[in-house]
């Protein structure tokens, strides 16, 4: 027999859908089926049931093969590399819960580490822009209930956040938006003809790397000033038309993604995007929101915010917190040989960092804490598999609009497996033993 668990939170992307239903065996040990989730989310739940899942820590041998070790040995190894290092890097944090992040932060304090999260290669530039100019934003329910103008800039939710458009942005019927998508106008700015662009009223196929110019052109157009015939490859008539569409709305929302945060201009693009939003508030109501990727990258920025005052790239090595992106960011540290041990948790830099950074991880004492086998676990000395947060253990996660939701445990982890939180708690205890405090 089986039973259905409702109101389950999907631990995949920043959309953080909380209406998933999961069918589990009566004894809570097997997960059979997933309803309401998108293809990626469903796969995340089902992957926990993989037959070939790694369930015990492993250490790399000299000949390159793995040797199974105990959690105690993994705890000791992790504690020792952190204690022995002058300046360890503790990177990742975006696919685990806030409880684990909080303990990790304390470890970082005790050993004098640099802590950085996946925003460093994602929305870190947005965070810098917010420090420059602020951010007028809202929760996703405000979008659902009020927004009649939706602008997606450099993001493709149809593939990256598959349920975003139906739950929050284009299609839902809300309190003041009873007609759903028929009363909304959608603009997409993207150099590529994406599946998101296919549902737009206007698709502005901006020249790659010219987003900053186009943002500025919008600000000019709002004021009714003159534009050149083409800006960023877009004819001025189309820019005026799109600007008028935004100004005539009752509630405008701009969603933006990696297409603008990590292309030419980086944080300056986001400065301009937020300035566009500020300008729109002179005519109507407008908000802007980053499409955060990992389901709890937002949470790690929050935890470090209240503990240290900075959202990412926090250097604790001098005994107090410093923040200087470009200096204290993970890739810069790795490539300049400024760190001497690496702990990776709940993320996959092996797949997403430049090769020059990944090679440094390979050369250093390193541990990867991750339920999956990933390119990162392949380059680390020790791999510590842990329970899936949001599937096998609960805990707090923050949605892309910073709304915190408590994820649920729906199924038991394989026997004897630790959670991120338990593992880190034990590492902290061991560090304190080693330091004699």
């Amino acid at each position: 027999m089986s039973r259905t668990v409702t109101d389950v939170i999907c631990p995949f992307c920043g959309t953080l859908c909380d209406d998933i239903e999961v069918v589990v065996s009566d004894d809570g040990r097997k997960l059979h089926e997933v309803y309401n989730a998108c293809a990626i989310g469903a796969e995340k739940f089902l992957h926990s049931q993989a037959k070939d899942r790694i369930t015990r820590p492993r250490m790399r041998q000299d000949d390159g093969s793995w040797k199974e070790i105990t959690y105690d040995e993994a705890i000791d190894y992790t504690a020792r590399i952190l204690v022995n290092a002058k300046k360890p890097l503790m990177y990742g944090w975006s696919s685990t819960n806030c409880e684990a992040q909080a303990i990790g932060s304390e470890i970082g304090e005790v050993v004098g580490a640099v802590v950085d999260n996946t925003a460093t290669v994602c929305h870190g530039t947005s965070l810098i822009a917010v420090q420059d100019i602020g951010i007028p934003s809202c929760t996703l329910g405000e979008v659902k209930n009020r927004a009649d103008r939706i602008l997606f800039w450099g993001c493709n939710p149809a593939h990256a956040h598959p349920r975003h458009m139906s739950r929050y942005s284009i299609f839902p019927r809300g309190f003041f938006t009873g007609k759903g998508h028929t009363a909304r106008k959608v603009i997409v700015v993207d150099p590529r003809p994406t599946d998101t662009a296919n549902v737009a009223d206007i698709h502005l196929q901006v020249e790659q790397g010219r987003d900053y110019e186009l943002f500025d052109a919008f600000r000019v157009a709002f004021k009714g000033e003159q534009l050149p015939d083409f800006v960023a490859g877009i004819p001025k008539e189309k820019i005026y038309e799109a600007a008028e569409m935004l100004k005539s709305g009752r509630f405008v929302i701009i969603f933006f993604g990696m297409g603008v945060t990590q292309s030419l201009g980086k944080n300056h693009n986001i400065d301009a995007a937020i300035a566009v939003t500020r300008d729109l508030n002179e005519y109507t109501k407008a908000a802007i929101m980053p499409m955060r990727g990992h389901y709890n990258v937002t949470g790690s920025g929050q935890v470090w915010g209240w503990l240290f005052g900075f959202p990412y790239a926090v250097d604790l090595s001098r005994g107090f917190a410093r923040y200087n992106p470009g200096e204290t960011t993970a890739n810069d540290l790795l490539r300049r040989d400024e760190v001497d041990a690496v702990l990776v948790i709940a993320s996959d830099p092996g797949a997403h960092f430049p090769f020059s950074s990944v090679r440094k991880i390979y050369e250093l004492p390193s541990v990867a804490i991750d339920p999956h086998e990933t390119p990162t676990t392949e380059v680390c000395k020790v791999h510590v598999p842990v329970a899936f947060v949001g599937v096998e253990v609960g805990g707090c996660a923050y949605r892309m609009d910073n709304v915190p939701i408590e994820t649920r445990k729906v199924v038991e982890p394989p026997d004897g497996m630790m959670t991120d939180e338990e593992f880190l708690r034990r590492v902290l205890e061991r560090i304190k033993e080693l330091q004699g405090v």
């Binding site: 509630f251 929050q302 503990l307 005052g309 900075f310 707090c396």
Partner: protein, 568 residues
């Protein structure tokens, strides 16, 4: 549990009515006891020093989403402020929006032991409780905001007090909240469309209700439930010249209503940061103090309490659930602006602000905050606050004490203003020679707020039976002193006990204490209509499901639940 005896201090305590006489204070099992009850106490020699109960802050923004926006978007606030970890202290940074760790330690250093977070957006209650959990030492509670909540607007439009009360009780339980907070009633909902409600009769778009109806209805719902604290309001029209009439109109909504609470408070309305609401004139050019008009009303109506929101002349970070105000402010000072509108519930904004003594308006604001305290007839109803961090960081409380206790210190400040004469013309402070004494300070910072919160059974005094929260300051009120000595002494308690645990010894933090989170569990009769409305709103308009809304117990590792029975 250890026993302590704090011997021979000059004790100031409005609860037992002792005004600086030498007395001994005994602690046993977390409580104050008669000195005869301790057998083998550890003795703290307080001879020549001042002894007061632990401070109670009725209104500060110290935990939650907008506070963290303030931290994360102001790296400059950490410049030159960081302190490395040492001893039991973790690392700590930030000036106007300190980290949670520093918040706990810095309040403790001033001798404060209880601090209320003034505005919790219900949808973000978990975040608020995570930060409270990570704030050491202090007992804390948080006020969920109700003044722009769609349930409240719809019930009160039809004058449905009982339904409003049932919803309030439900939301307090769901968010683990402490009191009913109202911020710019109706105005923040209007801000969802970029609009505002500028006075108490300005109707809320679509909802067809006025701020006056919201305020009166929430007072009545609050008294229907008999909650420990009264309705706690930040009125419409904050920060604008000429707004004192809106403030008086708001005060008048409480007329004729008496408290129906067994928690010992006398007020039915607490109006917060009244400094921001006491402005005359009709432009920044003829901006002036209307503090006398405002405080006259408060002095003659005993069902109102207020806190000051005193300006400290610092660079700080403003943050409020008054979304339209923060937009107004960024248009004024052109500094960075963060805003978050929260579905069905509220909104908020954050903007840095520099209160410069060289700007006339800022200097007038500084005068108004102090005038309110100095013209108050009953210090048990007028509390010290800076609306931290809006008018200044809480770490300036000792400086405000200095200004309130010393005319000399005030005159020094006035004389340093760039527009001294214009400021004197627009205010009344220069003509006030009153100097508060430590007994009155204890009323404004201990006994008064504890009573208004409905917590005088545990906080605010040194009487046997109360929780053993007590501070010893290195200050001899009977010796001559310079004004700055006040600020120095009250910035750094020599000893502090929190619920019987010594957390500061010889000015050093020696323990992270035993912090508790206070929340109010109000029981009401079953109300099927309200529960149906809750289910429907979650199904149709919220983006989280009803089952994922309630804050579960593990966010409150050490809860202190106050039970209220409103079933009849």
């Amino acid at each position: 549990m250890a026993e302590y005896l704090i011997k021979n201090g000059f004790v100031f305590d409005p609860v037992i009515g002792i005004r600086g006489d030498i007395a001994d204070i005994a602690i046993k099992d977390c409580k104050f006891v008669e000195t005869s009850e301790v057998k083998d106490p550890k003795v703290i020699d307080a001879a020549g020093k001042t002894v007061m109960a632990g401070g109670v802050d009725v209104h500060a923004h110290v935990a939650g989403p907008k506070v963290n926006v303030g931290r994360n978007f102001r790296p400059e606030d950490k410049l030159f402020t960081y302190k490395p970890r040492s001893g039991v202290e973790r690392m700590q940074g930030g000036f106007s929006v300190p980290t949670t760790i520093r918040t706990g330690y810095n309040y403790a250093r001033m001798g404060y032991t209880t601090v209320m977070e003034a505005a919790m957006p219900p949808l973000y209650a978990r975040h608020t409780h995570e930060e409270i959990r990570d704030t050491p030492i202090l007992d804390q509670g948080a006020y969920p905001v109700f003044g722009n909540n769609w349930f409240v607007l719809e019930y009160l439009r039809n004058d449905e007090i009982e339904n409003t009360a049932a919803y309030v009780a439900w939301l307090l339980r769901a968010t683990k909240g402490y009191a009913v907070k109202v911020v710019n009633p109706g105005g923040t909902e209007a801000w969802g469309w970029g609009l505002n409600c500028e006075n108490i009769h300005d109707p809320v778009p679509y909802f067809n209700i006025t701020p006056a109806q919201i305020v009166k209805g929430l007072i009545e719902a609050n008294e229907y439930l008999g909650l420990p604290h009264s309705m706690h309001i930040h009125a419409n029209n904050l920060g604008n010249p000429g707004n004192y009439t809106t403030t008086l109109d708001t005060f008048r909504l409480s007329e004729g209503i008496r408290p129906r609470s067994k928690f010992g408070r006398d007020q039915v309305m607490h109006h917060t940061h009244v400094q921001f609401h006491s402005y005359g004139g009709d432009s920044w050019a003829n901006f002036e103090s209307k503090a006398p008009e405002i405080i006259d009303y408060v002095n003659s109506h005993d069902n109102i309490t207020i806190d000051l929101g005193a300006v400290t002349l610092d660079e700080t970070t403003t943050m409020t659930a008054d979304g339209p105000f923060e937009h107004h402010l960024t248009e004024l000072n052109h500094l960075k602006w963060a805003n978050t509108d929260v579905e069905l519930e509220t909104g908020s904004g954050v903007v840095p602000y520099i209160y410069s003594p060289s700007i006339k308006v800022c200097a007038i604001q500084w005068c108004i905050g102090l005038e309110l305290a100095l013209l108050a007839k009953d210090p048990m109803r007028v509390f010290l606050s800076t609306d931290h961090p809006n008018a200044g960081p809480f770490t300036r409380y000792p400086r405000i004490m200095k200004w309130l206790m010393s005319e000399e210190a005030r005159n020094q400040q006035i004389d340093s203003f760039k527009y001294r004469d214009k400021v004197i013309d627009a205010t009344n402070l220069a003509g006030i020679d009153r100097e508060l004494d430590l007994y009155e300070i204890a009323q404004m910072t201990r006994a008064g707020p504890a009573k208004a919160l409905g917590l005088s059974q545990i906080y605010g005094g040194l009487a046997p039976g109360l929780d053993a929260d007590v501070a010893v300051y290195d200050f001899n009120p009977n010796e001559p002193y310079a004004p700055d000595d006040i600020e120095t002494a009250f910035s750094s308690a020599e000893h502090l006990f929190k619920t019987g645990v010594q957390v500061i010894r010889d000015h050093e933090i020696v323990s992270n204490g035993n912090k508790r989170t206070l929340w109010v569990n109000a029981k009401v009769n079953e109300n099927p209509q309200v529960m149906r409305d809750v289910r429907e709103k979650f199904l149709r308009y919220y983006t989280v499901t009803l089952n994922n809304y309630e804050v579960s117990g593990h966010y409150l590792p050490n809860p202190y639940v106050i039970e209220v029975d409103a079933t009849q």
